[in-house]
Symmetry: C2
Subunit: 352 residues, 2 copies
């Protein structure tokens, strides 16, 4: 590809760069990514960087769990604030929590980064976040794709998707093991995690007219950008002991659809989940969005996690032990409801 030719009015040659794609920038990025990928190596990951596929040695028969996800319009907050090294961590942690809910520990991860115009520094920062998330969750970054797609993404915009594969090591019965009498334990989220950003951006940027550098209303010392970019928590380590103890009936990762949309995914058709909204006070970050959006409780809790990132279903007689002996209480976990006889509904109750 000739890098310095230009498309002339005289119908001269068109190059791929003229068409908006810069293969040299991609090559330079690829070189820098090799170190990031190597930093995530685990004993089982292999294959040369730059090969057609990443290799992973699985030493025994395994039940694999896989999941694909994105970070929603949190990428627009990153683009607007110019802080690009956290959305990758969000992505990994989101994926880790999803497969954790199926009893799996991460093995490897791949990312897809697509943009309108490749800025190799931005791409590097994004993937640096992915690699950091992988290292923190002991997960190999086995490969990825960087795509420059003018016309699909505006210059300065990008999207990010992730794909994780894990191995089932924790015995979580899931929906079939959940029964009336079970208790719900909530674990705090760090912030919006990766959901509700379209709503939050509309409230903060449009309705309130704030910018990313403005102080977040009612949050001391934190800007709008910082509050919105708080990193999605991984619950792998906080839940490891309780999961190893076999004391968990099901896990609901609270993502798109909120508590109702995700808790329903682990409910048998003959049971309800009752969540006591008075059992916690949503952090100020959420209270501002609640007040300024004017949404009803049911709309709010379907859109935002409202301060809860994971709900753990435990047997009734195991509740105290889970909270005291397994570190779940120390990680901020608290009882927030129970399973009752019902029809598969999630009921959000508030004492009058």
């Amino acid at each position: 590809m000739s890098g310095n030719s230009e498309r002339g009015r005289d119908q001269g040659p068109i190059t791929y760069r003229d068409a908006g794609v810069d293969l040299r920038a991609a090559e330079s990025l690829t070189g820098r990514l090799a170190d990031l990928v190597n930093s995530t190596r685990t004993a089982s990951s292999g294959g040369a960087f730059g090969s057609f596929g990443g290799r992973f040695h699985l030493p025994a028969a395994s039940e694999l769990v896989a999941s694909a996800d994105g970070v929603g319009t949190k990428v627009l907050v990153a683009a607007r604030t110019g802080v690009h090294d956290t959305v990758g961590e969000d992505l990994v942690n989101h994926c880790v929590n999803d497969i954790l809910a199926e009893g799996a520990e991460p093995l490897f991860f791949l990312d897809y980064f697509a943009c309108g115009q490749l800025d190799s520094d931005v791409a590097y920062q994004v993937i640096e976040g992915v690699a950091r998330g992988c290292r923190a969750n002991r997960c190999a970054l086995l490969g990825g794709e960087t795509a420059e797609m003018p016309g699909v993404y505006d210059p300065g915009h990008y999207d990010l998707a992730g794909f994780i594969v894990g191995r089932r090591v924790f015995d979580i019965p899931g929906r079939s093991g959940v029964r009336p009498g079970d208790r719900l334990v909530a674990l705090p989220s760090s912030g919006l995690h990766t959901n509700g950003y379209s709503l939050a951006r509309m409230v903060l940027f449009e309705r309130l007219g704030l910018g990313p550098e403005d102080p977040y209303p009612q949050l001391a010392g934190e800007t709008v950008g910082q509050a919105l970019l708080r990193v999605h928590k991984s619950y792998l380590e906080p839940l490891r002991v309780v999961l190893e103890a076999g004391a968990v009936r099901a896990l609901a990762h609270i993502t798109g659809g909120g508590i109702p949309g995700n808790l329903s995914r682990v409910l048998p058709t003959d049971s309800d989940a009752v969540v006591h909204l008075d059992s916690w006070i949503p952090p100020p970050l959420f209270r501002v969005l609640a007040a300024e959006s004017g949404l009803s409780d049911s709309d709010l809790y379907e859109t935002l996690n409202m301060g809860i990132g994971m709900i753990v279903v435990v047997p009734e007689d195991g509740l105290d032990q889970v909270l005291t002996d397994t570190g779940v209480g120390a990680a901020g976990g608290f009882a927030c409801g129970e399973i009752t006889v019902g029809d598969g509904s999630v009921l959000l109750l508030r004492a009058e």
Copy 2:
């Protein structure tokens, strides 16, 4: 989420739909996708649709190979023609070929579909193509993510990424097994596959002023849209016999970067690959792009596959047998060059 409220000037409630996200459309789509996913089930895939992660039972120790990819700006051609059910097949076949180059047969696949405004019919068609590709390659569609991201994607636009995991079953030494004297066998592509679309769109739509319904220049009975949307070939079945025979030193899947960019990925540092450009005539689809773009050979062959979708490196004494006995010749395969002593370069030679 209240579906019929609207954001008023009086600072009334904002709903998530007002913010451009329609959770109900997403739910309706999810219901329709369950059948598609079920149509791809294999003996090893499991887990309920709608769970946090898809499950896959691997019965023995395995060398896994994973890859992530997209289809580039071919998605813009799909959006412009309104034909959405082929890009998913492109995506699966692209991924299948990538892991095939590492000796792997597909096990399972996950997709990421992101759009500006969820049109559940479009999303369904796209994922229908993914499912068709999965069935054809005997690969379970284990999960996926559908994201509505107003502000990242324009209405009517979408992006599509795929993730594949396979198991190494074919003994392909790869780079370390390639040596001077080896021969190159080319397998025809069906068209552009998934690369060079920014260039092709610029030539056809902008320079030539054609629309998707116009006849493609020099192609009888095929429109621009049809020619550009020709499905990326999967080489899994055409190459199965020769791979099972252990007669392959390396495979180069010809994607972004063309023959030079991909053949170099399987070259040892002390060898060159010599490709004889006279050994085939690029199909008319490419000849039009070559003539109208005015690109040099070296630019052209780095941007487009020029009619070759996969290059197979075989030992010199195995060439005749590969072409005659393994079905590779019947699949259109032909000798296109050889490996020589060198420095890791790909040389495109044309007899004067």
